[in-house]
C-alpha cells in the first residue's frame, strides 16, 4: 500500500498531517542550538508559532505569541536574547508565566501564562511534541550510532525553498536509485551511483541506510591515509517525519529537516558539521573539506530540487499510483509509517 497520490497537494490532507504526524514529533534543534541560557529557535508550523529555549530548567518550548497584542516574542530564526517581547517589553519566566509587564493595569490581565509543549532529547537532538505528549525518541541514539553521526556546531547552514509537498522531499532522500541519473556532478563523481552496494534498516519511526561505492570506485585506502577513522561510504538516517542526517566518509555530517509551508511548498533547512575524524585533521585540510562539502551539498540539493518539483507537477496532472521498486524499500517503509498514523488521511 502506498500513499494516495491525492495526498500530495490537498490542503485538507495537509492540515490533518500537521495535526497528527507533525504533532507527534518535530525536530526542534540540536545541542549546539541551545548551548547557552536564552539560546532560542523560533519556528512556525501551520498555525503554531513556537519558540524553543534554553532555560534554567532545561530546554523548553512555548507558544511564541505575546499575551499582550500577539507579536511574536522571539522573531523567526535563532539567536540569544532574554525571553521578552520586543514590542512593549512583557517578559516571561522559565515556565512561560508572565514575569514582568511594564506599566500595566494588573486587573486587565486575564491570561498570564504561555502554552508550553514537551521537548525530548536524545543524542544531542531535541524534538518537540506539539500534540502534548513527549515525543518518543528511544530509537534516535541507535540510528545515530548505526550511521556514525555525531551532531555538532554547524560550519554552514542554509535554507532552500521547494515547490513541492514535503513527502516528496522525504521520499527523494530515502533511495539511491536516482543517483546516477540526477547527481552527475555530485554523488556520481564521489563514487556513489544507482548500482552501488546498499543496505538499509527500518524501525518504528526511523530508518537508515548505508551506500558503498562499487569496488572499482572504492577510495577507502586513500581516505584512510588522510584520516584513519575515515572510509568511503555514505550513510543516511531518517527520523519520522521531518529529520534527515547523513555521514559522508566518516568526515562530514549533514543535518536537514523539512518545514512544510503548505500542501505544495516546503522549506528544507540544512546544515553541515564536522565529524570527530575531520576535527582531528590539520586546519588546512578541514577548511578544504568544509568548502568541498558546502559546494557538494549545494550542487546535490539543486540537482534534487528539479526532480522533486517535477514530481509535484506530475502529481498535479492526471497520472497513476507510484510503482515502488525493490531499491525503494525505505520509501515503502515511510509510506507504512505514514499510513499507520493517518489511516489514509
Amino acid at each position: 500500500m502506498s500513499i494516495d497520490r491525492r495526498c500530495y497537494g490537498d490542503p485538507g490532507v495537509f492540515a490533518r498531517e500537521l495535526e497528527t504526524i507533525f504533532a507527534e514529533r518535530l525536530f526542534a534543534g540540536t545541542q549546539a542550538d541551545f548551548a547557552r541560557p536564552d539560546d532560542y529557535r523560533s519556528l512556525r508550523i501551520g498555525r503554531k508559532a513556537v519558540t524553543i529555549r534554553r532555560t534554567r530548567s532545561g530546554v523548553r518550548a512555548f507558544d511564541n505569541v505575546c499575551l499582550h497584542r500577539n507579536a511574536l516574542i522571539d522573531l523567526p530564526g535563532c539567536g540569544n536574547r532574554p525571553f521578552r517581547c520586543g514590542y512593549h517589553g512583557w517578559s516571561y519566566a522559565d515556565d512561560g508565566a508572565l514575569a514582568a509587564a511594564p506599566l500595566v493595569d494588573k486587573a486587565s490581565i486575564a491570561r498570564c501564562r504561555l502554552g508550553s509543549y514537551p521537548v525530548s532529547e536524545s543524542g544531542g537532538l531535541h524534538f518537540l511534541g506539539l500534540g502534548g505528549a513527549a515525543p518518543v525518541v528511544d530509537e534516535v541514539a541507535q540510528v545515530l550510532a548505526d550511521t556514525g553521526v555525531v551532531p555538532d556546531t554547524p560550519f554552514h547552514a542554509a535554507v532552500m525553498e521547494h515547490a513541492c509537498n514535503w513527502k516528496l522531499l522525504v521520499e527523494n532522500v530515502l533511495e539511491g536509485y536516482h543517483l546516477s541519473f540526477v547527481h552527475g556532478d555530485s554523488f556520481r563523481p564521489a563514487g556513489f551511483t544507482s548500482t552501488g552496494r546498499y543496505a538499509w534498516h527500518g524501525g518504528r519511526y526511523t530508518s537508515w541506510n548505508e551506500m558503498l561505492p562499487a569496488d572499482a570506485a572504492d577510495k577507502t585506502a586513500a581516505l584512510r591515509r588522510l584520516a584513519s577513522q575515515a572510509g568511503h561510504f555514505y550513510r543516511h538516517a531518517y527520523v519520522f517525519p521531518d529529520l534527515f542526517l547523513s555521514n559522508t566518509n566518516g568526515l562530514v555530517g549533514f543535518l536537514s529537516h523539512v518545514i512544510p509551508v503548505d500542501a505544495t511548498r516546503t522549506r528544507l533547512a540544512w546544515r553541515l558539521f564536522e565529524l570527530p575524524a575531520l576535527k582531528a585533521l590539520p586546519p588546512a585540510l578541514r577548511q578544504h573539506m568544509q568548502e568541498e562539502a558546502i559546494a557538494f551539498t549545494q550542487q546535490a540539493l539543486a540537482e534534487d530540487k528539479v526532480l522533486v518539483e517535477a514530481c509535484q507537477q506530475g502529481l498535479e496532472a492526471d497520472g497513476f499510483e507510484v510503482q515502488l521498486q525493490p531499491q525503494e524499500a525505505r520509501i515503502a517503509h515511510f509510506h507504512a509509517l505514514y499510513l499507520a498514523r493517518t489511516n489514509d488521511v
Partner: protein, 79 residues
C-alpha cells in the same frame, strides 16, 4: 629541503611513482588525479613542510613546479 625530496613526497601523496614525476608535469592532467589528491597534497604540505597549502593554491597551480614554488616560499616566509 630539496626539489628532489619534494617531488618524492608529492609523488607519494598522490600515489604515483616518483620517477614518473618531473617539475613540469601538469599534475591535474594525470589520469589518476582526483579531488582526494588535492586533500593529500594539503596534508603532505602540512605534515612534511609545516606549511598551509590551500585548495585554492592547488586549483591555481598547473605544474608540480607551481606547487613547489608555493611550498618553498611559504617555508622561507616561516623561517
Amino acid at each position: 629541503m630539496t626539489i628532489d625530496d619534494f617531488i618524492e613526497k608529492f609523488a607519494f601523496a598522490i600515489e604515483v611513482e616518483a620517477d614518473t614525476l618531473t617539475l613540469d608535469i601538469r599534475f591535474k592532467e594525470l589520469p589518476s588525479w582526483d579531488s582526494l589528491n588535492t586533500l593529500a597534497v594539503i596534508a603532505m604540505a602540512d605534515a612534511d613542510y609545516g606549511v598551509t597549502v590551500t585548495g585554492r593554491d592547488i586549483e591555481a597551480s598547473t605544474t608540480v613546479a607551481d606547487i613547489w614554488a608555493i611550498v618553498s616560499s611559504k617555508c622561507a616566509a616561516a623561517k
